[in-house]
Symmetry: C2
Subunit: 351 residues, 2 copies
C-alpha cells in the first residue's frame, strides 16, 4: 500500500466479504430476497461477490449504472429511479432486451412513456413511506396500479420504497415497523398476487427482513459501511471496509494537521445521524477531520498527539457512497498486501 | 441542448469570456499579475482562454492538474500545495524540466525534500493569513526564507496565501486590506528583491489588486462564478456561466419537484457566506434545491408554481469547483446552440 500515491481509496477485502456474507445470512434466515444497491460500490467485481453470496439481483439508481452491471454479466436489475426522457427510454428498451429489468415508477405519465417506448420491463410502484422525496402517497397506490396493469409491455411486480427518513430517528425498530406495515398494505393494494414489497436502507435492513409482508431488502452501504452506519449501530468500527488513504502534508500547529484528502476525496457529506458532530470523517485513531476544502483536510490533533509530515493515515468516511464516486479506482488490500485494483466502472454515471 | 441527457454541466461561453475579460482588466489596470486557479474549470480550453486574455500563468492545486495543463501547452505553473512523498517529488522534478514550475512550501522539511529530489523549481512560502489551514505564521517567514535560500535547486520567489477566511466576513474590504498588509510585510521578510506577494480568492481579487505591495492575484471561481460569489457581491446572477441542466423526474406534491441532479451533480457544498440558507443550489427561477441525496434534488416549488415531469431546468451551483469535478465533460453553449463539448481533463486528479 505504501507505493500508492495519496489520496487513494482502500478496500479491505476481508471486511468487505464479511459484510457481504452477514447481510446474505440476514436475508437467507429471514426468507427475503436481498438485492444490494450497487450505487455504493459501483464496481462489477463487488457486485459479482454479492450475487455469488446469494443476492437475487442488484439495485441501481441510474440507467448508466445498470448498463455497466449488465455488461458485467448481471442479469437481474432494478433501477430504483423514475426514468424520464426519450433517449433514456430508448436505452431502457435496449437494456431490457438483454437483461431482466424492473424500474421504479411514481406517476402514470412516466409509466405510459415507458410503455410507449416499447420497453418490456417490470414495474414497482415507488411509495413515499415518510421520506417525502419521490414516491406516491400510500393511498394512491391502488389507482396507479390499475392504470399500470393496463399498459402494454409493463409487468407490475409490487411496491418499493427507500425509507431514508429512518436516518433521522432514534428508534430504528419503530420506524422500520411502521414502514413495513405501510408497505405491506401498499403491496396488497397493487392487486398483484404475491407482490414484491421492497424496503431499502442499511440501518433498517436487519429489522425489515423480519417484518411480516416484506419480501425484499435493498441495502447498499452495508458492503463497506461507514461512520454513519456506526452511529446508527448498524456496524462496528471494525466493519468499515473502505477508507481513504491520505498523507500528512502540513503540521502548522500542535493541534492541527493538514492531510491531502479534502472534499474531493471525502465529499462534503456530514454524518447522517441525530446529534452527530459536523465533521468530514475521522482517522482510524478517532481524530476527526474538522474542516475541509477541496484538497485539504484539517485534522484536530489532541494534546500530545503525534502526526508527522509525510505520515500516512486512513480516514473512515462519513458516507461512503459519494466517496467511492470521487475515485477512478479502488486499491484492494488483503492481509496488508495489495491484491488488486478495481476500476470504479460506474463512477459518475448519473445519466 | 435539448439533445443532451441530464444531468449535464452547461457552460455559457459568452458569460465565461466576459468573466475572463473582466478579471484580466482588473489585473491589467492595477498592474498586478493574474494567475487564475485552474482547479475551478479543470479544462485546458478554458486555461488557454485565460492565458490569451493576459494571465501570467496558471495556478493549480495538485501535481496531476499541473501535468494536464503542461501537456496542453501551459508553460508557467504554480502548484499552490505542499508536495510530499517520493513519487510526487520525482514527478515534480520531471515536470520542472518541461515547464516553469513554482510550488508552495510551508515547512523546511518539505523544501529540503524537494531540493533533495533534484527538482529545480520556484518556491513561494505559504503564509497563514488567517484561514488557519496550512501555511506558516507570518512571524516565521524570515527564518524559513533564509533556510530555503540555502537549498540547491530552489529559487525563492516570495509569498503566497489563500485568504479563505474572507468568505466568513461581512466586510471584504477590511479583511482584504488586513491580509494585504500582512502579506506585504511577509514578502519583505523573505529578503527576496521584488518578492512575489500573491493573494488568492475571487471575492477579494478586485480589492486585493489595488492594495499596495500585492503583486499577483489567483482567483479561480470568477471564470464561472456561482451563488456563493453572488452572495458576496463578487458577481451578479447573470454572471454565472456554469449551470447544471436537470430534468424534473417526479412531482409528488404541489410544493415539491424532484430533479435528476442530486449531490452527485451539485455536490453537498452549501453556500459559503454568512447567514446563507442551507440549500444545494437554486434553479435560475430562484427556487431552491432544499434537499438532496445522491441522485435526487428536491426543489421547493412556491404556491402556484408550475413544473412538469419531463421539463428541463438549469441549476446554479452554490460552489462551482466541486460541481465541475463531478462531470466528465462540459457542454459549451453559445447563442442557445451547442458549440463544443470540452473534457474536464483534470477531473479527479487529486494526486
Amino acid at each position: 500500500v505504501d507505493e500508492f500515491e495519496t489520496p487513494a481509496l482502500i478496500v479491505d477485502a476481508a471486511r468487505m466479504r464479511a459484510n457481504i456474507d452477514a447481510m446474505a445470512a440476514v436475508a437467507r434466515e429471514s426468507g427475503v430476497a436481498l438485492r444490494p444497491h450497487a450505487k455504493t460500490h459501483k464496481m462489477p467485481e463487488v457486485g459479482a461477490l454479492q450475487l455469488a453470496a446469494g443476492a437475487a439481483g442488484l439495485t441501481v439508481a441510474k440507467l448508466g449504472e445498470a448498463e455497466v452491471f449488465a455488461d458485467a454479466g448481471c442479469e437481474d436489475l432494478v433501477i430504483a429511479y423514475p426514468l424520464v426522457g426519450e433517449s433514456k427510454l430508448a436505452r431502457l428498451a435496449a437494456l431490457a432486451r438483454r437483461a431482466r429489468v424492473s424500474v421504479a415508477v411514481d406517476s402514470l405519465e412516466v409509466a405510459e412513456a415507458i410503455s410507449a417506448a416499447g420497453a418490456e420491463v417490470g414495474v414497482r410502484i415507488e411509495v413515499d413511506s415518510g421520506q417525502h422525496r419521490a414516491g406516491v402517497a400510500p393511498g394512491d397506490v391502488a389507482e396507479l396500479a390499475r392504470a399500470i396493469a393496463a399498459l402494454p409491455g409493463l409487468r407490475l411486480e409490487g411496491v418499493l420504497t427507500h425509507e431514508g427518513h429512518a436516518y433521522a430517528t432514534d428508534d430504528l425498530a419503530a420506524a422500520t415497523h411502521a414502514v413495513a406495515e405501510l408497505m405491506a398494505r401498499a403491496g396488497a393494494d397493487t392487486g398483484v398476487r404475491d407482490p414484491v414489497v421492497s424496503l431499502g436502507s442499511t440501518p433498517t435492513a436487519r429489522l425489515a427482513a423480519r417484518e411480516p409482508g416484506v419480501t425484499e431488502i435493498r441495502p447498499g452501504t452495508y458492503v463497506f459501511h461507514d461512520r454513519t452506519q456506526v452511529a446508527h449501530g448498524a456496524a462496528r468500527p471494525e466493519d468499515c471496509a473502505a477508507t481513504v488513504l491520505a498523507t500528512v502534508v502540513s503540521r502548522p500547529a500542535p493541534d492541527r494537521a493538514v492531510v491531502d484528502a479534502g472534499t474531493k476525496a471525502l465529499s462534503s457529506d456530514r454524518l447522517n445521524a441525530p446529534g452527530a458532530p459536523a465533521d468530514f470523517g475521522a482517522l482510524t485513531s478517532g481524530w476527526p477531520v474538522v474542516r475541509a476544502s477541496e484538497e485539504h483536510g484539517v485534522v484536530a490533533v489532541p494534546p500530545g498527539g503525534e502526526l508527522r509530515v509525510g505520515e500516512r493515515v486512513r480516514i473512515v468516511p462519513n458516507h461512503v457512497c459519494p466517496v467511492v464516486n470521487l475515485f477512478d479506482e479502488a486499491v484492494v488490500v488483503e492481509d496488508g498486501a495489495v491484491v488488486a485494483t478495481w476500476r470504479v466502472a460506474a463512477r459518475g454515471l448519473s445519466r
